[in-house]
């Protein structure tokens, strides 16, 4: 018995140390990012002395500097406009498509699913060349529309897949009962089905928003061509090439990450409630 306990203890020690190493490996870089963002100049440029683990004088100056900058707010607004428009267009296209895929079998279904996977797996750095060339020819480059259309293309396959899975969870009986009572297809869809799969649709919308908010490649090829519109990712990249103080880079990075972290938290909750509601029905 004593021997087994020893084995158990050794196992726990190995496991705990592995978990600790992983946690440090994950948390330390994030801590450093936040630390740089609240660092004062003397913490960043130490003149050869070790960079302090905690800032000499923690300060929000970098954030205040950014928040007073009109260009920064214009850039945030651009990112938000593009992301919200992408969500609208993606939802408009994906929700009906997901419903059809969940409910009906039709001759070209297999073809459509292969198309979905092909679009999803196609390297974006390869597809960006023809798409950018196309928008230049259509005189649409350096416009919101071009980026929204491109981001919708990136988000669509996965969001259609999410919507399909969500609609598959709704029993057919509910629709048939509503039809018996006399509801038409549009009413059934908007009043019954959509509310039932709402958590999944929200999760899909958040996924789309974040994809667009973080996206760099298409924004870079479509907007960094001498136009006026810049997104937050392009703004960060532009600052990188100017090699400004590291604390301002970290502060922009934190601003770029904040919506992602908030939304990831919300999605987790919605995902849980989605799973639970699926189980109850």
């Amino acid at each position: 018995m004593g021997y087994i306990d020893k084995g158990e203890v050794a196992k726990k020690i190995v496991w705990t140390s592995c978990v600790i190493v992983m946690m440090v490996g994950i948390i330390a870089p994030i801590y450093l990012l936040l630390k740089y963002a609240i660092s004062d100049p003397s913490t960043v440029n130490t003149g050869g002395r070790p960079i302090p683990i905690w800032p000499n004088r923690p300060t929000f100056d970098m954030f205040l500097y950014l928040f007073k900058d009109r260009e920064f707010w214009a850039v945030v607004a651009n990112s938000a406009i593009i992301a919200v428009s992408t969500v609208a267009l993606t939802s408009f296209l994906s929700v009906p498509a997901g419903y059809v895929l969940a409910r009906y079998n039709f001759p070209l279904k297999r073809f459509f699913l292969i198309l979905l996977i092909s679009v999803r797996l196609f390297p974006d750095i390869s597809s960006v060349i023809p798409i950018a060339t196309f928008f230049v020819r259509m005189n649409l480059h350096s416009s919101y529309l071009s980026v929204v259309l491109a981001h919708t293309l990136l988000a669509l396959p996965y969001v259609i897949f999410m919507a399909t899975t969500a609609f598959e969870f709704v029993p057919k009986d509910i629709e048939e009962q509503a039809r018996v009572i006399g509801a038409n297809r549009v009413t059934i869809f908007t009043k019954i089905l959509v509310p039932m799969v709402f958590p999944s649709l929200v999760a899909g919308a958040i996924y789309t928003f974040l994809l667009s908010w973080d996206e760099f490649i298409f924004a870079h090829f479509l907007l960094d061509t001498g136009g006026q519109i810049q997104t937050l990712t392009l703004y960060l990249n532009k600052n990188l090439s100017f090699s400004p103080p590291q604390n301002i880079l970290a502060a922009i990075s934190v601003c770029l990450s904040v919506p992602v972290m908030i939304f990831t938290f919300i999605v987790q909750r919605y995902m849980v409630s989605g799973v639970v509601s699926g189980a109850v029905k």
Binding site: V19, I26, F106, P123, D124, L249
Partner: protein
Amino acid sequence: MSDIWPLIPAAIYLLFFFMLVMIALVTLSVTEGDLFPTFEPLQAILKNTEFYDALINTLIFVIIGTPLELIAGLFAALLVYNSFWGKTFIRSVFVIPFAFPGLVIATLLFILFDSQGGFANHLLQGQYSFFPKVIDHDVAWRGNKFLALSVSMLGKVWRDMPISMLIILSGLNSIEPELIDAAKTMGAGFRARLTKIILPLVFPAMTTVLLLRSVEMWKEFIFPYILAGNYPLLGTLIEKLYGFGSEPGEAAVVALILVGLTVLTLILIVEITGRIKRELVNSGVNS
């Protein structure tokens, strides 16, 4: 047929862009200025030493990075799966890297691995009491091909580890605990349980990770773009040719080669993992 009309807008949208991408990519790759069709872009690429550099760099990136992501994901998943306490908490922490945009992590590494007096240099020079001295002088992280690409890969694997972990974890969670209990009762140790039960059963999940990650590695752009500007991968070479070089034809040729290599890798992985799976099944039957 009348029932499926709500699908049509999405289908047209996807089909239009897919056809556009395929047709325009091929057309561009055989266009040079007003010349069409011509193999000039292809010939220019085949003569370009930078292309071969990028090809080899990317190949190394794929060959080392893909298994690395699998191992990191598997390791994290096994830690969460076998957890003694706080399973949900540990899993939440392990998922955090994925909540950060790739560009942010690349920027962070850009700051930390600064060539003059960056945090990584200070740390490795033993300037902190908690870390041993490894190097004597500042290292120019972005001025050396091996280091620049290693730091890029470090960022990529760190950022994407949670995806691999979650896929493998869903595979692990589908294993019935009774199976492992039974093996324990019959006297199988941890290693036997891992190699004879757990790994074969999560094999499909591991295959998925390899497939998805290899695609990601081939097309990787953001980390090398920020951290290894002087040492192109195929992705960053495409950007350079298209933007800086104003050679859309040559960029399209490299883009097509990238697509071809990605598809080839997928076929190869499906083939190899299929063979391993058959081997596993056969060895299980024979023993």
